[in-house]
Symmetry: C2
Subunit: 196 residues, 2 copies
């Protein structure tokens, strides 16, 4: 391996700092959504000057943290919805993983809602939603999901029940550990073609 030039070493340092900042920011925000930049710099082991050199504003940092979380979520969800899974099985896996991801990122969502424009925050939901749409299309084609109701409505069922379950957990009427199972059972019942 060739010795690094000064320029190369500076770039490697910068990349390592950016990774450390994004990791620390996700940890800090997950503990406390309104955590400030000073606390994040400290947790990342960098100076405030270094932090602001890479992320000129809190808005900018939260946007990057969200972006990275969305990318990771997309990778996880893609393995769950692979075309060789039965659509009902894939939907159950998608619900379980999607639920865990959303639950794990609840404080990040709060921070994002407080900091970023709504369209940017929706990128997270859209990551799940696009895969749901694709999966429902495939399930209808294969006869696993019903075709007597519109496709858009089946997607709406998924999304509104997911949202309702989150609210029920927050209100203390549904246990977090039961939620994914309750959701999967309900959504599959609603999407399965009527018998007879």
């Amino acid at each position: 391996m060739p010795r690094m030039t000064g320029e190369g070493r500076r770039r490697a340092d910068a990349e390592r700092n950016i990774e450390a900042i994004l990791d620390a920011a996700l940890d800090c925000i997950s503990d406390q959504p309104d955590v400030n930049m000073t606390a994040i710099a400290k947790a990342a082991g960098v100076s405030r000057v270094t932090l602001y050199a890479h992320f000129p504003s809190r808005h900018d940092l939260v946007a990057h943290v969200l972006d990275r979380a969305v990318t990771t979520a997309a990778e996880v969800l893609d393995t769950e919805t692979l075309d060789d899974h039965d659509p009902a099985e894939a939907l159950t896996r998608l619900i379980r993983s999607g639920w865990q991801i959303l639950a794990g990122h609840r404080n990040l969502m709060t921070a994002a809602h407080d900091t970023l424009p709504p369209a940017q925050v929706r990128s997270f939901h859209n990551t799940v939603l696009r895969r749901v749409e694709k999966l429902i299309t495939r399930g209808r084609r294969q006869g696993t999901f019903r075709t007597d109701l519109p496709q858009t409505w089946l997607v709406t069922i998924f999304y509104s029940l997911l949202h309702a379950a989150a609210e029920e957990v927050t209100a203390g009427r549904l246990r977090q550990r039961d939620a994914a199972d309750v959701l999967a059972t309900t959504i599959l019942s609603a999407l399965t073609p009527p018998t007879r």
Copy 2:
């Protein structure tokens, strides 16, 4: 019938005026949620002085209009959920009637949301919701509705899908005339016990 005394006649006049004002107010608000008191007095055929003698504020008038609409809705819904109907049939009737009532009172809900405290506006939803709860309890007891998911969650399914359908209609993704059927089909599928 005895001749009315002056006092009796005044009371009869007042009652007639109140009915006319409430009828006119519902009509006016249904056309235009932010209609003003002058337009309502004119539509009711009474003076502004008479209007304000009975309803000292717009807030007061909207509250009474909402209250009367809720009472009427409760009467309609009670005939649909009678104990001698099969629970699935009663739920379908409740959804169709409830949907028509909510659709017919959409502008009233807007006016109420703009004028009254949220708890007062919820009285409308609670009128539907209490009957849904009772019906789901009966359906679970009779084996028509599933018992493998919590009762509170079945009520949440009903409520959140109703809400979602209203949003889909507003967004132009679901036709108003299809909504009640789509809702009834979806909710019954979600509430029916799993076979096997």
